[in-house]
């Protein structure tokens, strides 16, 4: 890739971390995603590419209301 052509504009972890017995795995994805979107002022309608590990991107796209034109479900740590 061409160096400096792409930038990370949103980055966030889940609100809680450690032991979160009241939150399901897909909710952890959604919580982190909404935190990252909030800090850079975007909403699900602004996202057109989605990649997930541990959940399927199809599930999360539906869950958050994202209509992607690019999807990646590569499942590597």
């Amino acid at each position: 890739m061409k160096p400096r052509s792409i930038a990370i504009v949103g980055a966030a972890e889940t609100t809680e971390m450690g032991k979160i017995p009241d939150t399901s795995q897909i909710q952890l994805h959604a919580d982190a995603a909404l935190n990252a979107m909030a800090e850079c002022g975007l909403g699900p309608k602004d996202i057109d590419g989605i990649a997930c590990a541990a959940e399927w991107p199809t599930d999360l796209a539906h869950y958050l209301g994202i209509t992607p034109t690019w999807v990646d479900g590569t499942m590597v740590g």
Binding site: I6, A7, M17, M37, C40, L42, A53, W70
Partner: protein, 298 residues
């Protein structure tokens, strides 16, 4: 790491403009998690699992024992990886484990699978993370400080630990790391901050050598001499790592989050003036690897 590389390529190719990458695992509470079954028809299911070689602590003992024999890595040097990372974790309010530990504490902690004591194994916690990527040109319009991608790498080797070409070095690490350094055009001396996914204490040792920061056999001593510790020349795993910060099952996202925090200048254990961060991950048990080089300079 691999998603980030794919997303960068997709945006540059015009397939999309704004990518969301998410990770999350209920690794400890196991709420709504997907069971990862062992398929008896898989390669591991046929040729390794029937012989008891199952799960990370067992599988990782095989290369690390060969490494210790051939490279002379001591139990104390291996334990010291966990000790140094706990020093970083002590500065991080969100770290799961923050109490200081000594080499002796590690060696006296519960044995899991020789040579790994429990303090040399990753945590099991709940959590997640997300990243949003777009073009560098558009990034200027956002309220957040942009972190630019300089280069990326990825590779795979084998799903069976017994089939690693060399137990003392990961081919996937070497290929992914070399690609990322080549793409980014940086040299090792340019690196201000380093993350190497530490599911177990030996992984930063392999990473330091396979990425070329030190020569084969030198990494244990390099960490012992406090080069990667707070105040050292090459600050590594500054969030406390998978050994002390958090580890939900797949830790790569949390390493990336710490690299971004360091590049934004907002990490709890901030490396003063850091401009280039290298973030390197493992997938499975040396089965796969991804590397990302970031900078905060446009």
């Amino acid at each position: 790491m691999i998603h980030l590389r794919h997303a960068a390529a997709a945006i540059n190719e015009g397939l999309c403009t704004t990518v969301l990458i998410t990770h999350g695992e209920s690794g400890r509470s196991w709420i709504g998690s997907k069971a990862m079954g062992n398929n008896p028809a898989s390669l591991a299911g046929q040729f390794e699992i029937p012989f008891g070689c199952l799960g990370p602590p067992t599988m990782f003992t095989i290369p690390v024992l060969r490494y210790m024999k051939e490279r002379g890595l001591t139990h104390e040097q291996l334990a010291n990886v966990a000790v140094v990372q706990r020093e970083w974790a002590a500065m991080n309010p969100r770290a799961s484990q923050r109490d200081p530990i000594t080499v002796q504490d590690v060696l006296e902690s519960r044995m899991i699978a020789y040579p790994f004591h429990v303090l040399e194994c990753c945590l099991v916690t709940d959590g997640g993370g997300a990243l949003i990527l777009t073009t560098a040109e558009r990034a200027k319009d956002f309220p957040t400080k942009p972190v630019y991608i300089l280069g990326t790498g990825e590779s795979v080797e084998t799903p069976m630990i017994s089939q690693m070409a060399d137990f003392t070095s990961s081919r996937a690490f070497r290929v992914s790391g070399a690609k990322a350094f080549q793409e980014s055009g940086i040299s090792h001396g340019d690196v201000d901050h380093l993350m190497i996914y530490d599911a177990f204490a030996h992984l930063p040792i392999y990473g330091l050598e396979d990425l070329g920061f030190v020569k084969p056999g030198e990494a244990g001593q390099f960490i012992w001499e406090r080069n990667t510790a707070p105040g050292g020349a090459l600050p590594m795993n500054t969030n406390g790592g998978g050994l002390s910060y958090m580890h939900s099952g797949m830790y790569g996202m949390y390493a990336l989050q710490e690299s971004v925090r360091q590049m934004r200048g907002i990490a709890p254990a901030q490396v003063d003036g850091a401009k280039i961060s290298v973030c390197h991950g493992v997938g499975g048990m040396f089965g796969a690897s991804g590397t990302v080089v970031m900078t905060n300079e446009a």
